[in-house]
């Protein structure tokens, strides 16, 4: 027993009397399991040796954590419900926080790597008399006529993701691998650096979740500052980082010690497949899966790890010398994704594009980053209008 030399003090209310009970931690945990039956007001405990702080909080107190994060200058992004859809959004009021959900339609990617991101502006003396036909470029007489104007600098925002599921925390890990590998992307890095993550552990998935197959129900070290899980009528909040410790300490509430294992969610269906088998994906016949595909690209739009992008230079016809360069999200389901000069398109069929997405998620990512690009959220199946289920294509159902 790890915690048997740690004693806990329970403050119980019983018939309007406050009772303090001191007991060894394992016995305390027994109480904890009946938390719903016992009206626990606060739990006070010595800190465990490994320094994990854990609190049990009612939902109102959870909201005070959000207020505290805001006070510290974070923009809190959390699941909110609107029209039967749960989506991540900047919280206008802590009470908008939605904790009772299975999937969100967007993901942390949309905040760390926006679908359209201006990179910089540049000014040139280029004049466009007839766009695409007669272009006069600036000439090199005098000072250099093309100047990069740093009108855009990466925003120094402090993002706090509050109440995202473990799969979404894992998606940040994958984006880190891609965007922070040398040379690191400065725009992503600026958003990522001061990020705070409070993960709401998942108890139950729906029929599209596959986090067990890709083991994304576990949150790796460094990808959660707080772990929140339902406990009785409130929430159990434990810290996983120094910043998490500080935030919980700021609440000045009683705390319990412990380091519970990551919660394994109950899934309705489970599948098994080989993540590294590129040849296997090529060989299989996908026609029965892609027959109903409309190439709407919902799978890549709702995927928390799809990061493929395009670079666009845009100017206003009113002021053609002022050009903005943006990074715009691109989908491999579109024809122009794989088109090269002269019109040769490498991914010509629906089947090729369907397989390409899976190859990029599994064997390609495994090879490049030793990490699969699928975090098992199931968004690509749940939001597909044709309900194309790649799990059945890649593997077989095991439970």
């Amino acid at each position: 027993m790890v915690f048997c030399d740690v004693y806990a003090t329970l403050v119980l209310s019983s018939k309007n009397r406050m009772v303090n009970v001191v007991m060894p931690l394992p016995i305390f945990y027994l109480f904890f399991n009946f938390g719903a039956a016992t009206d626990i007001l606060a739990v006070i405990c010595l800190k465990s040796e490994d320094g994990v702080i854990m609190l049990k909080l009612p939902k109102q107190e959870l909201m005070s954590l959000i207020s505290e994060l805001r006070r510290l200058g974070f923009e809190v992004i959390a699941p909110t419900r609107s029209n039967e859809t749960v989506r991540l959004a900047a919280l206008s009021s802590p009470s908008d926080l939605e904790t009772d959900y299975i999937r969100i339609i967007n993901s942390p990617r949309d905040f760390l790597l926006p679908s359209r991101e201006p990179l910089f502006r540049y000014r040139s003396t280029a004049t466009v008399t007839s766009y695409g036909l007669k272009i006069r470029f600036p000439t090199v007489e005098g000072p250099c006529p093309v100047t990069i104007v740093p009108e855009y600098t990466p925003p120094k925002v402090k993002i706090a993701f509050f109440g995202i599921h473990p799969c979404m925390a894992n998606s940040i890990r994958y984006l880190d691998k891609v965007m922070l590998s040398e040379p690191a992307d400065p725009y992503y890095k600026a958003r990522r650096e001061d990020m705070f993550v409070a993960v709401l552990e998942c108890e139950e998935g729906d029929q599209y979740c596959l986090c067990k197959t890709v083991e994304s129900y576990k949150v790796p070290e460094g990808y959660a500052d707080l772990m929140i899980r339902r406990g009785g009528d409130g929430f159990l909040v434990r810290s996983r980082s120094k910043r998490g410790d500080e935030l919980l300490a700021s609440l000045k509430r009683g705390e319990v010690a412990g380091k519970p294992k990551d919660l394994v969610p109950r899934l309705k269906e489970e599948y098994a497949f080989d993540r590294t088998d590129e040849a296997g994906i090529d060989e299989r016949d996908a026609s029965e899966y892609v027959g109903a595909c409309t190439l709407c690209a919902s799978c890549t739009v709702t995927c928390p790890t799809c990061y493929c992008s395009d670079i666009e230079d845009k100017f206003s016809l009113m002021d053609p010398s002022n050009v903005e360069r943006s990074r715009v999200r691109m989908s491999c389901q579109r024809r122009c994704y794989s088109m090269i000069a002269g019109g040769t398109t490498f991914l010509n069929t629906k089947e090729a594009r369907f397989k390409w997405r899976l190859k990029h998620k599994f064997p390609f990512s495994e090879r490049a980053y030793q990490l699969v690009g699928c975090v098992g959220c199931g968004n690509c199946i749940a939001f597909c209008p044709a309900r194309i289920d790649f799990r059945k294509f890649l593997g077989r159902r095991v439970a």
Partner: protein, 250 residues
Amino acid sequence: METKTLRLTLINWRADFLPGQFVQLLLPGVGEAPFCITSSPSDPKHIELTILRRGLVTTASQYIRPGDAVGIRGPLGRPFPLDRFHGRDVLLVATGIGIAALRSLILYILENRKKFKEVTLLYGARFPEDLVYRDEIKSWAEHVKVMVTLSKATEQWSGLRGRVTDHLKEVSLHKDLVAVVCGSPAVMESITNELIKYGLSSENIYVSLERHMKCGIGKCARCLIPGGLLVCKDGPVFSASEISIKAIGE
């Protein structure tokens, strides 16, 4: 074919590049596109790009006049492994505009001719007017063996006729030879297959792949090829043993 070779003078900057690398050419207000450097690496103050009119940037580049200013980002990508070419017979096979990707290497070979044994350039195009660097090729022929073949030759054409694969047998192909192939994807695949049939090891066959690289630094994933390699970072030069031969034409 409407091709144009731009000779760019670099202002306050020198590009230390090697044959096989590419740059992103920025046309202010139009956009950016990747082009392989076609000039010799011995002159880092100038960069030459041979551009075939195809899309937005390449069309706009036809309107560039002497003295105009453009932007360059690079050099990017992995060059030809020249160390492995030294002291060996080299076969260069190019079709169409693919010769542009090999010109830098050819100029390097001409400048360092003693480092290489027998060098053969096999260049194929469809029509006589499709031939790029027509006048230059004549001067190359004084130092290396040049074979130019046309698949749709006119009656006036006195040179070789047919596809490049028809003339591979005229080159003395042996195991120690290094072959470099560049052309359209399907043609590169068939040439690579032919060379392997003639007994060349896939490690000694190099291809220069074309993809529409957007960022050039491995962040946009637009140049991903089967096998999970990125053409901008891991390429554009690959040996045929590093990638599946099917991936060349895919």
